[in-house]
Symmetry: C2
Subunit: 470 residues, 2 copies
């Protein structure tokens, strides 16, 4: 054997050198079926300790390169050759490469409706409650979480949404997940693929694509001034309807009581009709009180309520929930009782403390005040810069509003110029789910989100927005 | 109007009392189409401030109970009647009720292979790195996370698994999720429903049921002493094979190199064959070094590697990942680029610091030493209590081992007596995926997990285990 054992300072451990060189020889088939020298013999030849050889042999044995025969010693396996397919040496495809850490578009000014203001998140309090959880619930952290999330947190959420949203449910009916998307996906995977679904148009494109991708026949249904049109629902004849009654996304419309009853009555006509109420940012109301949820008005257990902590705490926390009527809960449990894919229990228990100790309520109060001021400043700056060129749909709710602007630019022009000026800006075009035929007039609709805008940057942001249209 | 306004200390705000009483009257249809008194008039009548009435009217207006007509005032809507379906007053079904916080079975002694020892988790260090993240990456926390998880963490994982598991991949190929189950679910949802799949039998029942529930033809394939049998694979002729080569679940077998090459060569025969390598607890090795992953031996990009931090950190953290070959990565990105359902970014960034600063490596070293000692104590106590009645499959890897016990009890007896004695114990029966025909001899196979057993409770646990068989 022509082994090279290096004993320098930076060299690998001696047993590793023996292991690697023997492995290479074995894979070359040069040693197949041969007996290896005894540990003592090889140690003498290589002038190393018997321990080093023993360690190397042990590793080769456990990986199956050699086997031992009693009173004979270690025999080398007859190792098979690898089959190498043609054309598999292709380098990693360029199209799949990510440009390191850099985003392709890094805006300097944002009117996004998605991100929120993390400067005001009470991290210190969050960490303090987390410490309580580590001290008081360490045992829970060693276990798999409950498939619906800890019962204790579901209790806190049930109480909270009863008070703020009028939602009537038991903790059993709540399922906590790492987003409304995966929760809706799991729920809908239990429905027949022929289930017809109606969604709001314009509307939340993520749900639309999710449902389309799952193979359902999904019909985008037009809105009128009061939200989704019941006539249009009847025309497309769905079993399920997805709505955002508290603050229609993206137009901001608050569905009035009559339309709500009309919608609930449409569902009541047949027990297999369901309404999914996506209550994505209902916690933010600026002039009036909270508006009771659609679920709170339902007499027939046909509304599925979904809520999220993405807007009220942090989108990066990934904590959302869904409230299921008993019949759907039964279906869900049968299918997903063995599924564990929710958020971290450490975060969930921390959230429970955060709610129970009143910190969530205080945070919501502070954020409502903060967003109210920022929103008012933004609206007044917009009027100052654009004067009569714009109309703002000033519905005092949520973290975005709709603004119409009189311009000769097309939607495509606006979007391209926004990127050029490094402004993150979404137009209504993005939320039309199919066949976007903009009115032929010059009014263009923009979604103006303000949550992630710093207070002292409002004027600068509006100035930059104006530069798109100048 | 017969309004009752209470001005006591504990009474609701006056505007709320006006709002509620008006709302009730409107819902009774007693006011339909009528004009409401002017704010000033009603305020005088009720002896309250105009502001209170204004506030109440505003809330009714935004919810759609009334509308305003210029120079006329507020008119009450003609509110529809709710339709109430028959038989919808059923109370919440008993079968769906959870018994409050109490688990139905609360063991006093556990041999579970699932839970781990949270006493040794370095929460203090974790919290320190979390603080670094809050200080240095607050902006990231305000945004939606990358659908595959932060690129920076994927870099750290790629480097780590290259060093410890020989996995060859780019950060682009890693997808982070809140469990291997949802990751496998998403990946497999892109395959034709006719894709034949082979899984190990006995094996990981969660994947088996997941794949069955997705509608795939899944064949449980028998094992021999070297792990999954290639002959049996050829017989069931699958496109995908799911294996646990580092430490077969639950038997503990380490797949030897020849079987590995045979399996890879089987895949190499056709480019649409894939092997999923579930490396669920490979980080724990007690006598030998780490065994290189199957992925590290693959020449043809046909192995999908999955790893998890559930065993090495905490199962409640819910952080797992999957490494996709380029062709599957492309499919995955096309389907799921709009999906946001991974773990919290706060945890993911903290994990990055934890790995990069060497804390993960130190923790693994400590836990390996800890588990090694506990495992040795457990094995010696088992021999002491059961002497020649047991055979332990002493493969020095993972967080559980297989133990055969000579007993007249049936598997059903053992499981029932374990519950009686409040011992959490799994037998091999649980992991046979179909047609469990135990050998007619008296040897029964138990899965002995030791991760969540306290060091000072080993003897007590074994004593309790023995009581099942006495």
């Amino acid at each position: 054997m022509f082994f090279q054992i290096k004993k320098g300072n930076g060299d690998p451990a001696i047993y590793k050198q023996i292991y690697r060189q023997l492995k290479d020889l074995i894979l070359d088939e040069s040693l197949s079926n041969q007996k290896l020298p005894s540990k003592r013999k090889l140690a003498q030849d290589l002038r190393v300790s018997v321990n080093s050889v023993a360690h190397a042999y042990e590793q080769l044995l456990v990986e199956g390169y050699i086997y031992s025969v009693e009173r004979k010693g270690y025999i080398v396996e007859d190792i098979m050759r690898y089959i190498k397919r043609e054309g598999e040496d292709d380098p990693f495809p360029d199209e799949l490469k990510e440009n390191g850490k850099k985003e392709s578009f890094s805006p300097e000014v944002t009117f996004s409706h998605i991100s929120i203001d993390a400067e005001h998140f009470p991290f210190k309090k969050w960490r303090r409650y987390q410490q309580n959880v580590i001290e008081n619930h360490r045992n829970q952290l060693a276990l798999l979480p409950h498939p619906q999330g800890p019962y204790e947190l579901r209790e806190s959420i049930a109480t909270m949404i009863a008070l703020t949203r009028g939602v009537r449910c038991r903790p059993e009916q709540i399922v906590i997940g790492s987003g409304t998307q995966p929760l809706i996906h799991k729920l809908m995977s239990l429905q027949s693929e022929f289930t017809r679904i109606a969604v709001e148009n314009p509307g939340y494109q993520r749900f639309y694509h999710l449902l389309k991708d799952m193979g359902f026949p999904v019909a985008p249904v037009d809105l009128d001034n009061h939200g989704i049109s019941i006539d249009a629902i009847r025309e497309s004849n769905p079993k399920w309807v997805f709505v955002t009654p508290s603050h229609q996304f993206p137009t901001g419309t608050i569905m009035p009581i009559n339309r709500r009853i009309e919608l609930l009555n449409w569902a009541a006509e047949s027990p297999d009709r369901y309404i999914v109420e996506d209550d994505y940012d209902s916690e933010f109301k600026y002039e009036t009180d909270h508006i009771p949820s659609l679920q709170s008005l339902d007499r027939n257990q046909q509304v599925i309520y979904t809520g999220t902590f993405s807007k009220t705490l942090l989108p990066s926390l990934r904590i959302s929930y869904i409230v299921l009527p008993p019949d759907l809960l039964k279906l869900y449990r049968n299918a997903f009782n063995e599924w564990i894919d929710g958020p971290s229990s450490l975060n969930l228990w921390t959230l429970k403390y955060f709610i129970d100790r009143g910190e969530y309520g205080r945070h919501m109060k502070r954020m409502n005040a903060h967003y109210k001021t920022k929103r008012a400043t933004l609206i007044s700056e917009l009027h100052r810069f654009f004067s009569d060129k714009i109309t703002i749909h000033d519905i005092p709710a949520g973290l975005h509003f709709l603004m119409e602007i009189d311009t000769t630019l097309s939607y495509k022009d606006i979007e391209e110029r926004a990127i050029e000026k490094r402004v993150e800006l979404y137009t209504i075009r993005r939320f039309f789910l199919q066949d976007f035929n903009p009115d032929p007039n010059r009014k263009k609709k923009l979604i103006i989100g303000f949550a992630n805008m710093k207070e002292n940057e409002v004027r600068e942001s509006v100035k930059r927005l104006a530069s798109i249209f100048s």
